[in-house]
């Protein structure tokens, strides 16, 4: 499993506002749907990309056929496809890099492709492989602790109150 520091992951999650989710599924029991739902709940904008569902909606978000069609800005491309598909997706992403303001290529659990990673890094992008942003957000916020997960970090500060929009919003 590739190693990333907590600072690196936290920095990416904090500076990302919009995620293009390549391989998003309309099936509400698929892992990509779980991740999308969670991240939407946390205030991220998600642009699902799935040619088979183009024009339809997942969780109220319009689905795009490819990264070419996704509106700017997008800071992070999240790959929910096989490791073999990763280099092709990274090439598409790099073609849109300036238009979108892309900063990070993120590959999901068990998606590992060193060629794709090298391509992205050479273009100046952050690369994360074999991770899920839902799990990493859950680690950093402490929410994943409720499932007894070893977050591998120690907090000495009170975390911000969670909840859609914070404590005072209704």
């Amino acid at each position: 499993m590739p190693q990333y520091s907590d600072e690196f992951i936290r920095g990416i999650l904090r500076s990302t506002k919009t995620i293009a989710m390549v391989g998003a599924s309309g099936n509400d029991m698929r892992p990509s749907y779980f991740a999308m739902k969670y991240l939407l709940d946390k205030g991220f904008t998600i642009r699902p990309v799935n040619p088979g569902l183009a024009g339809k909606e997942i969780l109220g978000q319009k689905v795009y056929a490819s990264l070419r069609d996704v509106p700017a800005p997008v800071e992070l491309v999240d790959i929910f496809r096989s490791s073999d598909a990763a280099p092709g997706i990274v090439r598409e992403a790099l073609a849109e890099k300036d238009r979108l303001g892309l900063k990070t290529i993120w590959m999901q659990l068990s998606v590992i492709n060193d060629d794709a990673a090298a391509l992205a890094q050479a273009a100046g992008l952050n690369v994360v492989m074999d991770r899920c942003p839902k799990i990493e957000y859950g680690r950093m916020s402490g929410e994943i602790s409720w499932m007894g997960v070893n977050r591998k970090l120690i907090d000495n500060r009170k975390p911000l109150l969670f909840g859609k929009g914070g404590a005072l919003k209704r």
């Binding site: 029991m29 892992p31 602790s145 997960v149 120690i154 009170k158």
Partner: protein, 426 residues
């Protein structure tokens, strides 16, 4: 977190200052339920799509701190707190076993585990094959196509035999089944079974982890390394789950799938939830685990040496003694110490054993181990009473056997009490 030491993790792992109030100590969330933000949020929680609390049978924020702490101390991926060590074992088996399946378990086990496996589990058509904790080959010999797990104790009840975890782990790995280790007597302070190839660790946190004899509790730690999808042996984890709309728990949760399945299936359906008050007390105990365990071990070694030289003592079984058969394994697996629980044989057999436990004035005669207080029991007449004579012998609980759990009192006082009781007994 690999940069933090064990003592630091014992105090801090899993804990955050409370988000609502800033409280530093872990609050006791004495609540059964938790409000939903809206109906959509409620549905997402029930579907496992977002993290959150619904009902304290399934998750509780106080228990969660304990779960993360034990996972961190054992070097595991995730933990689950349940009502007792027995409940932990029950839930682990419930997740792994189908009717007709088998586990291979060491004969040298806590009597309660022997009963649970041979009597309680038989009702579910889960079968146990017995092997010798001193001989990894005996586990291999007991394998069958129906074997789904192997179960051992790292330091075994009652005589403190140290198991060659790596040896048994090799057998388990080649057979494609997980190795479950009951690490109650050692605690992760002495031994971390996951580092030696175990896949799952269970604890009676009632004992040394809680450490103060005040709370019954159990813990499961998922090592996060086992491939639950291989060969279709564990359909609960690899096949569509009917009560969660067909998600495959192994596919959805990856290296946390076993711990999460124990929670959202076993704990959900069987119900042995840990009270948050108990979780709090066990957590508080764990903060001093390193200090207590070292004192337990140092005291126990002194007591064992004193007993070995005593004319009324026939033999002592303690891995810390240089001539004990387990001593070599203790030096390898548990260099800080051999634990605090061991047995000795009092000359005069059953009657002398009974007289001894009746004669102590500092030791408490009761059924427990791993308390700050020194404890004594005669297993043949109590903890192993429900086994037959043959089972008692193979479990190390013959008629002359006395078991001690050495506490953290002044060692001179501990020895003085045994001295006067032995003088009166035999």
């Amino acid at each position: 977190m690999s940069e933090y030491g064990f003592n630091t993790l014992s105090v801090h792992a899993g804990a955050q200052p409370d988000p609502a109030t800033g409280a530093r100590a872990t609050p006791i969330y004495q609540t059964t339920s938790y409000v939903f933000e809206d109906a959509d949020h409620a549905a997402a929680l029930f579907n496992l799509q977002v993290f959150g609390n619904i009902y304290s049978r399934i998750t509780n924020p106080t228990n969660a701190v304990l779960e993360e702490r034990i996972a961190a101390l054992e070097g595991g991926r995730a933990g689950l707190a349940v009502a007792s060590g027995h409940a932990a074992q029950f839930i682990v088996m419930h997740t792994l076993m189908q009717p007709g399946d088998e586990i291979i378990a060491a004969r040298q086990l806590y009597g309660g585990s022997i009963n649970q496996f041979s009597q309680g589990f038989a009702k579910f058509d889960w079968h146990v094959k017995w092997a010798d904790t001193r001989d990894p080959e005996s586990f291999r010999a007991a394998l069958s196509p129906k074997t789904k797990a192997i179960f051992i104790e790292s330091i075994a009840n009652p005589g403190g035999i140290v198991t060659d975890i790596e040896g048994v782990a090799g057998v388990a790995k080649r057979a494609g089944v997980p190795l479950i280790v009951d690490n109650t007597f050692a605690t992760p302070y002495l031994i971390r079974p996951l580092e030696w190839g175990a896949d799952i660790v269970v604890h009676s946190a009632t004992k040394f982890l809680g450490g103060h004899g005040n709370s019954i509790a159990g813990l499961i730690v998922d090592g996060g390394k086992f491939d639950w999808g291989k060969d279709g042996k564990y359909p609960t984890l690899s096949e569509p789950c009917p009560s969660y709309h067909g998600i495959r728990l192994w596919e959805t949760f990856g290296d946390m799938a076993f711990a999460i399945s124990c929670r959202v299936l076993g704990l959900r359906d069987l119900g042995p939830a840990l009270a948050p008050m108990n979780a709090f007390l066990v957590l508080t105990g764990i903060e001093t685990l390193p200090l207590r365990m070292q004192r337990h071990c140092d005291n126990a070694l002194a007591v064992a040496r004193w007993l070995k030289a005593h004319p009324k003592v026939a033999w002592v079984s303690y891995a810390g003694l240089e001539d004990d058969p387990s001593h070599g394994l203790q030096r390898t697996y548990s260099p800080k110490g051999a634990g605090a629980v061991f047995t000795f044989g009092v000359k005069g057999g059953y009657e002398a054993g009974v007289a001894l436990v009746n004669g102590v004035k500092l030791f408490s005669h009761l059924a427990n181990v791993g308390d700050t207080r020194s404890l004594i029991i005669h297993p043949a007449s109590t903890t192993h009473r429900q086994l037959d004579d043959e089972q008692k012998k193979t479990a190390g609980a013959g008629p002359d056997v006395v078991r001690l759990s050495v506490g953290i009192e002044n060692v001179e006082d501990i020895i003085a009490d045994l001295d006067q009781a032995l003088a009166a007994a035999a």
